[in-house]
């Protein structure tokens, strides 16, 4: 079960829009961390994903375990939301 979802995005990232559309279509609520507006959180995104890229979607489960999905990758995102 999903406790919360956070997406790291930027203003110009097309793949971020796709992830948000997918979550909207599945009626998931999520928080957005816009790295253009909050550049001080870039290190956090890097630490979580191991990558200097967005979107990074962090799915926190009810047991506080986290699944991190890098990019617009439905093959990983869909099971992470299950």
């Amino acid at each position: 079960m999903v406790k919360n979802i956070t997406i790291f995005t930027t203003n110009t990232c097309a793949y971020c829009v796709m992830v948000k559309k997918y979550l909207d279509a599945k009626a998931h609520q999520y928080d957005v961390v816009n790295l253009d507006e909050q550049p001080h959180r870039q290190a956090e995104a890097l630490q979580l994903s191991g990558s200097l890229t967005v979107p990074v979607t962090v799915v926190t489960k009810h047991d506080d375990s986290k699944e991190v999905v890098v990019g617009y990758n439905l093959a990983k995102l869909a099971p992470a939301l299950a």
């Binding site: 930027t10 203003n11 110009t12 990232c13 097309a14 793949y15 971020c16 829009v17 796709m18 790295l35 253009d36 550049p39 870039q42 890097l46 191991g50 990558s51 200097l52 890229t53 967005v54 890098v70 617009y72 439905l74």
Partner: protein
């Protein structure tokens, strides 16, 4: 599955970039049932391009993401359906085509392949190892990580210069490594020169990109190139690569659809491929000009030609 159980679409469009979406606008306006199958982002490479200044109708230019979104909305307004998945093969089964996809088989009377292309890789040491940890192919996605840092951009065409210009909003300095000479449009070269004069970009002509090197934390620290025959180090925090395009045609390699030596699909003047009833348009087509305006035009042409094909079919499939 029996014929009675399966839905045979009038047309399945593989891809949802500008050629595909334009074709869908034309087909759906003529009540030709149209499904697009997209594995990534509607709009394709146009959607991840910062700004598009040469697409007609937008006197001040338009953001790539906005253009893609508007194209999608326009196609959907007339009834186009976009499904997300990946087509992995196409079979000609006479009355219809069977498309293997990651979501199962799909059937269509005609198919339009408009899968476009992706940015080509350099194929040098370090490129794969540091992918997304300093090596990137999408400035609009990853540029924000290089605020107040140095970058190398590789390439001398429109994409490389356009994206280098975009990246200057973040970086302190960009080394633009160009294998031969700048081939970007005059307008882009003019904009580039202003940034060169301002000290934001240094252009290195006749410079190959040989190796990407990182630190123990596995982040990029420098690029080794050869400039005028001399090995040269370029200290950097990241590399963005825009050195041409590779066709997204791997999924038809086992079909009778003929490609050129690079992998772009060959068509006749009607956009018809060597598999009857299968058309191709946009960047995936051999001889395409790799321009969004051209892709849209090819999409419109393909739509009209596949309509003619549908009308000429001797034994229409009953849905």
């Amino acid at each position: 599955m029996s014929d009675a159980d399966k839905t045979v679409h009038d047309v399945i469009i593989v891809g949802a970039g500008p050629a595909a979406l334009t074709a869908a606008i034309y087909t759906t306006r003529e009540d030709i049932g149209t499904v697009l199958v997209e594995r990534g982002v509607p709009g394709g490479l146009a959607a991840v391009t910062d700004r598009i200044d040469n697409y007609p109708g937008f006197s001040e230019g338009i953001e790539g993401l906005t253009l893609a979104s508007e194209l999608q909305k326009q196609a959907e307004r007339f009834g186009a359906v976009i499904e997300f998945g990946e087509v992995t093969n196409i079979h000609d089964e006479g009355e219809h085509k069977r498309l293997e996809t990651t979501s199962g088989d799909m059937y269509a009377k005609t198919v339009l392949i408009a899968t476009g292309s992706d940015y080509k890789k350099l194929g040098i040491p370090g490129e794969q190892e540091y992918y997304a940890r300093g090596v990137h192919y999408c400035a609009t996605c990853d540029g924000a990580f290089y605020r107040d840092k140095r970058l190398v951009v590789v390439g001398g065409g429109n994409s490389a210069v356009q994206e280098a210009i975009f990246l200057t909003r973040f970086t302190t300095h960009i080394d633009l490594l160009v294998r031969s000479t700048i081939k970007a449009s005059d307008v882009l070269q003019h904009d580039l020169q202003k940034l060169v004069d301002a000290g934001k970009i240094t252009v290195h002509l006749n410079t190959t990109t040989d190796e990407i090197i990182g630190d123990p934390e596995h982040l990029v620290t420098k690029v080794v190139g050869t400039k005028d025959g001399v090995k040269t180090d370029f200290e950097t925090d990241g590399v963005f690569v825009f050195v041409g395009l590779d066709p997204n045609s791997q999924f038809i390699k086992d079909t009778c659809i003929k490609c050129d030596e690079i992998g772009f699909i060959m068509t006749d003047e009607h956009m018809q491929t060597t598999m009857p009833g299968v058309f191709a348009a946009g960047d995936i087509r051999s001889g395409a000009t790799m321009q969004i305006a051209s892709a849209a035009g090819e999409g419109a042409t393909a739509a009209l030609k596949l309509r003619e094909y549908l009308e000429a079919r001797p034994h229409p499939v009953q849905n």
